[in-house]
């Protein structure tokens, strides 16, 4: 197979900023409508009170929290793909890590909406932050929600930084080729990148350091989200294995999301040459592995509850399978436990659109998983007198759908403005491949270097 032409990389990627397929605009329009619907729903809820969302006692938490977990979870695979695979020097990540990182950032931004709109008094949300005030009151440092606030802000900042730093060389390329407002934007953002050797050295160091910082951070963030549940005493939330279970689940749904976006971007921005079947194959294999880890932890959790013989927890477990929320649980098992086995087949793995739909199924499964983490334990809590079933109402569903619109909109706008495929890293990948192949052809390495230089300066 013919490798990517060196000279075409810049052109292809830069072209993606200008002329996506028309479907792009349709998707943007749909997403924007969803966002507007979400804004309207939130305005209504803000005015009339949270009761409009149809949560109640004992269902004090519902979709907002499960969406929050879902979106935070989704952000993890971006870090995994870029940071962990960077550190493990997996070259195949290079064409796809940029959008994965963007996905990380935007899913955090989406996730961050939910704890806010979920508050009873949104207008007092900043009280959660420790800031000096004349009343000499601090927030409660023991509350997992406070850790959440800290973790999310840290994670959002770091992943934004990571995305941005990794993008600087590409921004410089864009700067050199852009006009108008784009020129100003890229100029400001590329921080005067000239591509000097010293710059590259500093850049490499920074990037790797950031990656080292981000990996434990990502793990800790979802562990903290897990402690929102695990630190409480609601039966079936109060589980020690929740942090790893959540992290695995996060990576699982995130990888599925990457597959979805992979196929979508490939089509919308005509990245067929970059996002190849081999990369898809590797991504899917990774997803499959993570799916199995998650399944192991999930089944392990069931076993732990069953053998613990704790009255309260067992009750919830039984209710999960035969109670009113059983369709959700069985749906989850179907989508997230059974469906991933399709990934074991190579033919399937190499079919882009099949993978697109499968990844959506996996994500649905993981979304249901988050719902069944939040709702059934509250429904059959300690106090049987309060047992009740509540299905999320229109407002909650609207905001959920709107969050998907919001995320996709932000993501696509990002891809429209910034290079969603890392140009310099793809070049590096091609370079590595060439070296590998040129060893066979006994080609002079300096010749390649010359070619590289010429391209960069624009001679070719």
């Amino acid at each position: 197979m013919k490798d990517i032409e060196w000279a075409k990389i810049n052109k292809d990627v830069l072209a993606s900023l200008e002329s996506p397929r028309p479907l792009f605009w349709v998707v943007i329009a749909v997403c924007f409508t969803l966002v507007l619907a979400g804004v309207a729903a939130e305005a209504y809820q803000y005015n009339y009170g949270l009761g409009t969302a149809l949560m109640n006692r004992p269902h004090y938490w519902q979709l907002y929290i499960s969406n929050f977990v879902f979106w935070i979870g989704m952000s993890h695979s971006g870090t995994l793909l870029s940071a962990i695979l960077l550190l493990t020097k997996a070259d195949w990540r290079k064409p796809i890590y940029r959008f994965a990182e963007a996905m990380t950032l935007f899913s955090i931004l989406t996730a961050a909406i939910f704890p806010v709109i979920h508050l009873g008094r949104v207008w007092d949300m900043y009280w959660v932050l420790p800031y000096p005030n004349e009343r000499t009151i601090w927030p409660n440092f023991r509350s997992p929600l406070l850790w959440d606030a800290a973790a999310i802000t840290t994670y959002a900042t770091s992943s934004a930084l990571f995305l941005y730093v990794g993008m600087i060389p590409d921004l410089a390329i864009c700067r050199d080729n852009a006009k108008g407002w784009r020129k100003k934007l890229y100029t400001a953002m590329s921080l005067g990148w000239m591509g000097r050797a010293t710059e590259w050295v500093a850049f490499r160091k920074t990037y790797v350091l950031l990656a080292c910082f981000l990996v434990p951070l990502a793990v800790s963030v979802h562990s903290i989200v897990a402690s929102d549940f695990a630190m409480s005493m609601v039966p079936d939330w109060h589980i020690t294995s929740f942090p790893p279970y959540f992290v695995a689940g996060a990576l699982y749904s995130g990888c599925a999301a990457i597959i979805t976006l992979f196929v979508m971007l490939r089509y919308l921005f005509r990245f067929e040459a970059y996002m190849t079947t081999e990369i898809m194959d590797k991504t899917v294999k990774l997803t499959f592995a993570i799916a199995m880890v998650w399944n192991f932890l999930n089944l392990g959790e069931y076993a732990a509850i069953w053998y613990s013989n704790d009255m309260f927890e067992k009750e919830v477990l039984i209710q999960k399978f035969i109670g009113p929320y059983a369709p959700v649980v069985w749906g989850m098992l179907l989508c997230a436990t059974v469906a991933p086995f399709a990934m074991a087949f190579e033919k399937f793995r190499h079919n882009m659109w099949a993978m697109f739909w499968l990844s959506l199924v996996l994500q649905l499964g993981m979304w249901l998983e988050r719902f069944q983490i939040v709702s059934p334990p509250l429904a059959s809590n300690h106090m049987p007198w309060t047992w009740a079933v509540v299905w999320p109402g229109t407002i909650q569903m609207t905001l959920t759908v709107a969050s998907f619109g919001w995320f996709t909109m932000l993501f696509l706008i990002f891809c429209k403005i910034f290079p969603s495929v890392s140009m310099y890293e793809v070049k590096e990948m091609v370079f590595h491949r060439r070296i590998a192949s040129s060893r066979d052809e006994m080609e002079d390495i300096s010749k390649i270097k010359d070619e590289v230089m010429q391209t960069e300066v624009g001679l070719k």
């Binding site: 949270l50 009761g51 959660v128 106090m383």
Partner: protein
């Protein structure tokens, strides 16, 4: 400076029994032998604590606000060979099981550590406080409460209160707006004014037992509810706890078999301040 203080205080605060020598610890006991389930306490609480009437629609969506509620069960907790109906019948021939349930003012309250803004905390007189104006409505406390006795203002229920019903509102108790969690306070306004009255009378740190009644206790037709200071050796409630061998800090009571005292969900080690006394049925009847 502030940080140094903070660390200093932090370590001090971790001590167990921090409030051991405070003069008050409010506690309650409810005798299920006497409770008839009539609901006088429920209405008294509505009147005393400015609880909103939410109407049928909101009751239907689970948004009702009733700090004190009477739970009704038809069955025994498990097979109780003593009291079980000897023959299988189609009727609850042993009557109903009533459980008045309000905030248990736990000493290891699960709601307290999870509040992000510290709107709920423990007062030195062992009350589980809820500061309405600090609450941001994360509802974490409500989830974490095993008794599910925290009630969230899903709407501004007071907006619809027609004149002149608002004239009944108790000025000592804040009227809560939407987005705020609330719960039984053991009638803290009465506690505070009883302390105030004791201060006026020159009794520092001593509220005479029986001079302070919670609204539910006061209205209870059978006087099934007893409320008082658990630190006062002579108080009725303390004597009740002692004679029924319930100790606050234990989650498994070491007591003789026939004694009736127990606390709901004691095994969760939340140290509730409300003791219940077994319901009684005559097996010869």
């Amino acid at each position: 400076m502030a940080l140094k203080r903070m660390l200093e205080n932090w370590s001090r605060l971790r001590q167990h029994d921090y409030y051991a020598d405070e003069p008050y610890m409010w506690g309650m006991s409810i005798d299920l032998n006497k409770c008839t389930g009539c609901g006088a306490c429920v209405t008294a609480c509505y009147a005393e604590n400015n609880l909103p009437v939410v109407g049928k629609e909101h009751c239907g969506s689970g948004h009702s606000m009733h700090w004190m509620r009477i739970e009704r069960f038809w069955t025994e907790p498990e097979d109780n060979p003593d009291v079980d109906i000897e023959e299988a019948t189609d009727h609850p021939e042993r009557g109903a099981h009533y459980l008045p349930m309000m905030c248990q003012q736990c000493n290891h309250a699960p709601c307290e550590p999870v509040c992000p803004v510290a709107a709920t905390y423990h007062t030195p007189d062992a009350l589980n406080a809820q500061v309405y104006n600090r609450c941001v409505g994360s509802r974490y406390c409500g989830n974490n409460c095993p008794f599910k006795v925290r009630y969230f203002n899903f709407f501004d229920f007071w907006n619809e209160l027609p004149h002149p019903l608002e004239m009944q509102l108790n000025p000592d108790v804040t009227v809560r707006s939407k987005g705020i969690m609330e719960k039984c306070t053991f009638c803290v306004q009465r506690i505070r004014s009883a302390k105030d009255a004791a201060e006026d009378a020159g009794h520092h740190d001593h509220v005479e037992d029986g001079t302070l009644l919670t609204a539910c206790q006061q209205s209870c037709p059978t006087q099934a509810i007893v409320f008082g200071n658990l630190k006062d050796e002579d108080s009725k409630v303390k004597r009740g706890w002692e004679s029924h061998q319930v100790e606050l800090e234990h989650f498994e009571q070491d007591k003789s078999e026939d004694v009736r005292g127990y606390r709901v969900f004691e095994e969760l080690n939340v140290e509730p301040c409300v003791m219940y006394l077994d319901r009684v049925r005559d097996t010869e009847a």
